[in-house]
Symmetry: C2
Subunit: 200 residues, 2 copies
DNA sequence: TTGTAAAAATGACATTTGTCATCTGATTTC
DNA sequence: GAAATCAGATGACAAATGTCATTTTTACAA
């Protein structure tokens, strides 16, 4: 019997996946969570065989949870299940040693198959992901990402300086650098590009 | 027997909903679609009793489909099923005479109940939606929305002028007006606000 | 210890952006 | 037909943004 845990913030999908996978004769869903924090603590407690994990969840993202689990020596296998084939996400997932990365773009049956394959030790990746465009690495440093995230909400240079305790010139230098790295025209376009690539 | 049609671009959720609702003894899923265009033509052909419809789909949005259906005198009831409680979405849905607006935030069972209630002629709305904040009308004119959409991609004033054949001053006047209406600090924040409210 | 590389700051500059008051034509409306 | 309304335009101004060359500070590996 494969003991499953599901973390997914869209409750309708969570409950649907739960019901359907529970119907499989060789699987049982032993826990669910709607945010990363709950997921992390439950997984450490319940030690499921396989965790299905969404990325975009409140509090902690699925990638954060995967990172924590690997750091704390958990033996539960993690399969990332997400809408987004963003380069940055995939890159981080691989770095954190996940056992699978699937898009919410396949049928449920494929998912069940993937879980069984994963149990045998294989790593499972959606075919869409193996192509190059996904391999694009995030060119932005931590600091740059942080600043661009703030800029993308419309925060002004001044607001950013006072939150980060940097001088106005420094912030503008960072943004200038970001704009060049992303080949954008201005901060707004840079934010738009970075978002679609999953870099911020 | 309630004849259902489901339109949803996230295939995993589509197939999960399909399987689960088909299990209900009084329902049968007679068709599915992953984009608005397919959905529209299939619904006109199959004349299902109830359509579950996502909003954010390729080609035509769920709201576009609902609009078309009501214009063409379809008798199929439409239930919008979406992640987003955005004022603009809700406003448009109501204008187009949909029979329900549910968030993908409930359990599957609630969904099945809602469908049955809908069949009796009742209109079904997620309780989260009935509060005021959702009632906020889109304060932006068509033109303003169009310009803000362009600005949100990082297009400069100059690029906008040449796409719309307006003078640079006019574009800046529009953006200035938009910023005041949305109580933002700059175009980027205006875009961020408008997006979360579903106004662009 | 030196060398190298980030991270952060400075100053000077050109451009872009946001604001505001005012002006012109159309189109409605009374 | 006069008045109000609306989409655009203009010009002038201040503030914010983006660019670049140069410098300081810190960190850390050889």
């Amino acid at each position: 019997m494969i003991r499953l845990f599901i973390a997914e913030d869209q409750k309708m999908l969570l409950s649907a996946l739960g019901s359907l996978l529970d119907l499989e004769k060789d699987m049982e869903v032993i826990g669910q969570a709607v945010n990363g924090e709950e997921a992390l603590s439950s997984i450490l407690k319940l030690k499921p065989d396989v965790c299905l994990m969404d990325i975009e969840m409140p509090v902690l993202s699925g990638l954060d949870v995967a990172e924590q689990l690997s750091q704390r020596g958990s033996h539960s296998k993690v399969i990332i299940l997400t809408t987004f084939a963003r380069p940055g996400y995939f890159e981080r997932a691989v770095k954190n040693g996940v056992h699978g990365y699937l898009l919410k773009d396949g049928e449920i049956d494929e998912l069940a198959d993937a879980i069984r394959k994963c149990m045998t030790g294989k790593r499972i990746f959606s075919p869409e992901l193996t192509f190059d465009l996904i391999r694009e690495e995030n060119p932005l440093t931590e600091r740059e990402q942080q600043i661009l995230r703030m800029a993308s909400l419309g925060k002004t240079t001044k607001e950013i300086t006072s939150e980060l305790y940097l001088s106005s010139g420094t912030v503008r230098n960072y943004i200038s650098e970001i704009i060049q790295k992303l080949e954008a025209k201005n901060r707004t376009e840079a934010a738009s590009i970075a978002k679609t690539k999953g870099w911020i």
